[in-house]
Subunit: 441 residues, 2 copies
């Protein structure tokens, strides 16, 4: 039997006291990674680890004498402006660094190493973040059957879920260049749309701007071209998970997407949270996934007892909307929906295995989007088009406003966290993006 993982000990507390406050996203049991610098400065971006309301500056850590061996080598790779080299070191190095930081941050620990580490802390309120890897490719999956069903009913009422959905984690390649971190603003896209009944498309600002609640999965170590990653080997290739908003221009998307898939309807912007929560921190929140016996069972290459027993992740998720009017009224954001990642039809390991099965190579720092995460219940849909039935039933925001689709000035905030009895609650921080008026307006 494995000895229990000390970083999962719910009773552990840190001398960084803000980490011990109930409801804090970044207790000592989390220790997620980002890339940051002091806000507004010309400093080099470098890796950071969250503890409470502080960032541990990994470039500074690498220069001190508070780590040894593999943990020190890992810290040195974290000091770079992108985390690819750290990810490429693999799970042993990730664990060495995370466990060393955990030990040094624990309340009971003291001495010169703690003093050194204290000198590496910067308040999160004083930093700005950037995309944490030099990302070679970004792939967006489509793995929520509730989302597929909700959307499919609008497009193909007779056959809502396409026949391949239950046989494979469907995916398409997305755009890397327009991925930004939480806090960003972007212009409403211009585009072509075909109005119902029209004989020619119209060109203008997107009229059906939407968000998609997703998680982003970072690839740790990659694979060589022509050498697929078997399901049994997939987990150690995954470094961690962030929040991801796959902004979608529905009118543009639906006109362009047959036969080759979404393009301009998606590639104008994608917003990720800056913090990557490690798979090690998420381990206590793994659970079995359920494939009803009357549904197709996965083909052998996508199936294993371990994946069935541990493939799902119970990550609670929530979408909030800030509007100009709510801001003017001094009110907080309105809650649009909430669900859990545990309902997803395919696991992250299955995504990795399917992606590489034909020989495609993943590289360290690549990002996989989970696809929109919608749950089975009312109010669990991860996109406005589902919540409002294609805009036909606008949602009340509680202050007299309603939304069918998003308006200029709206900001969408994604939040995520894990909690269960006997374990510390850990959080993802947030992904927030704000819509500016259309290009040229």
């Amino acid at each position: 039997m494995n000895s229990p993982n000390p970083t999962h000990n719910a009773h552990a507390q840190s001398w960084v006291t803000s980490a011990n406050v109930a409801g804090c996203d970044f207790p000592i049991q989390n220790l997620p990674f980002s890339v940051f610098r002091r806000a507004g400065s010309n400093e080099a971006f470098r890796g950071g680890v969250a503890i409470g309301d502080q960032v541990i500056d990994m470039a500074q850590v690498a220069r001190t004498a508070c780590l040894d061996g593999l943990a020190q080598a890992a810290a040195e790779n974290c000091a770079r402006p992108a985390l690819n080299d750290f990810f490429a070191m693999g799970p042993k190095a990730w664990k060495a660094l995370r466990h060393s930081l955990f030990e040094l941050l624990e309340k009971a620990f003291y001495g010169p190493k703690v003093d050194a580490l204290r000198g590496c802390l910067i308040p999160q309120s004083e930093v700005e973040f950037t995309v944490p890897t030099a990302m070679g490719d970004y792939t967006d999956f489509y793995t929520s059957i509730d989302h597929a069903r909700n959307i499919g009913k609008m497009i193909r009422p007779d056959d809502p879920v396409s026949s391949n959905f239950q046989w494979m984690p469907i995916a398409y390649h997305g755009r890397v260049s327009s991925i930004g971190v939480s806090g960003q603003s972007f212009r409403r896209p211009m585009g072509q749309a075909m109005p119902p009944g029209a004989s020619a498309p119209v060109y203008g600002p997107c009229a059906r701007l939407d968000y998609e609640l997703e998680l982003g999965v970072y690839i740790g170590q990659g694979n060589a071209q022509g050498e697929p990653i078997a399901l049994a080997d997939a987990e150690p290739h995954i470094f961690g998970i962030c929040l991801l908003n796959d902004w979608s221009a529905r009118d543009i998307q639906f006109w362009e997407m047959a036969p080759l898939g979404p393009f301009l309807g998606k590639n104008f912007c994608t917003t990720i949270s800056p913090w990557i929560v490690t798979m090690e921190a998420l381990e206590p929140y793994r659970q079995a996934w359920n494939r009803p016996a009357n549904e197709p069972q996965p083909l052998a290459y996508l199936d294993s007892p371990a994946n069935r027993a541990q493939g799902a992740l119970d990550i609670s998720l929530e979408v909030l909307l800030e509007t100009d009017k709510l801001r003017a009224e001094g009110k907080g954001p309105a809650r649009l929906s909430g669900t859990s990642f545990k309902h997803q039809y395919w696991s992250v390991a299955q995504m990795v295995t399917h992606h590489t099965m034909g020989g495609c190579n993943l590289r360290s720092g690549d990002l996989l989007g989970s696809g929109t995460i919608s749950g089975p219940g009312e109010g669990e849909a991860g996109a406005m088009i589902e919540l409002t039935y294609g805009g036909s039933k606008p949602m009340p925001l509680g202050n007299g406003e309603t939304r069918g689709f998003l308006q200029d000035g709206d900001a969408v905030i994604l939040r995520g966290w894990c909690e269960k009895p006997g374990y510390a609650r850990i959080g993802f921080g947030e992904s927030k993006g704000t819509i500016l008026p259309a290009i040229g307006k």
Copy 2:
């Protein structure tokens, strides 16, 4: 009136005598760019320019005193292991370098600078190439109406060309990680396919492996997110063009591609030619494109008199097939088809403008695939699935062999060139890729 471009002078010859041989792809009027090193060495990759059967080593050029000013600065950026920084300098720098090299390479030129340049030549037979840019994103278009019609007839006989095709250059994002240069081999992909009439998919080696004849378009200077490139401004953003083989696993592709487009059917491998022919070298081969009056005319953002007058490029293209049997017989490759890029429905400038219209940012060194290039006539199709009507009418190769789809050991060779009276013939070299037995076989 502009003075004629000296690099288009058909009578110019070089003291590199192999460049003056009739039929040579790389006369002094071409001067395409690549990234290379001595074959089998551990040297750093660096930029190279082709002249005859030689490569001009740009790292060596940058160290000599044979260039000045902007041309020297450009050469210094070409000396790096990727051409992104050179591309980002823009058309003035590209032209300064190309014209300086042209002058120094001309037959009549002599003196110490020519001696210095002579010391920078390496025979092409002694080098190996790599992907010439650190590619941020790769987008594959779908812009041949003959290809769309040929494929569409097989999938949707009642409505072969999807209704959006004539309104926009359709595209989807492709995979960067699996792009390789000519000379590469790759394993036949494994994958899921749904046999006709079956109720469950099968997993196994791709049974319908195909190629697609395409051109690759390199982005020179990019654009900021949210700032589209207008059609009138698009041309200077394009650096040049290469050959591109978009290998396709048809059985895998057709089962997976609804509703989000091709994924594993394409992302196992893409093969490009190492040489990028500049837009300046291609200028004499521009011509008007023809949009019949009874077809939809482009929306205003995709239309301009200049684009109509000059948007098409008459690039002759050819596909050849080498087989194990042809090799054993000592025979050269069999010709599968040939056509010209001039038939394409959308121009490269229209691709750039449409891509950025919604706010998506292109970056220096990004690659756009043209989509399969099929011409209107018999034998002008750019993929085997079209030439053989989905494999039902296998093609004879002239030695008793036939092919419906590609077999292990087959090598597909793409070639391209431009010629017209009064101008020097220029060529693209070739893109060659060889199929190895399936993964795990």
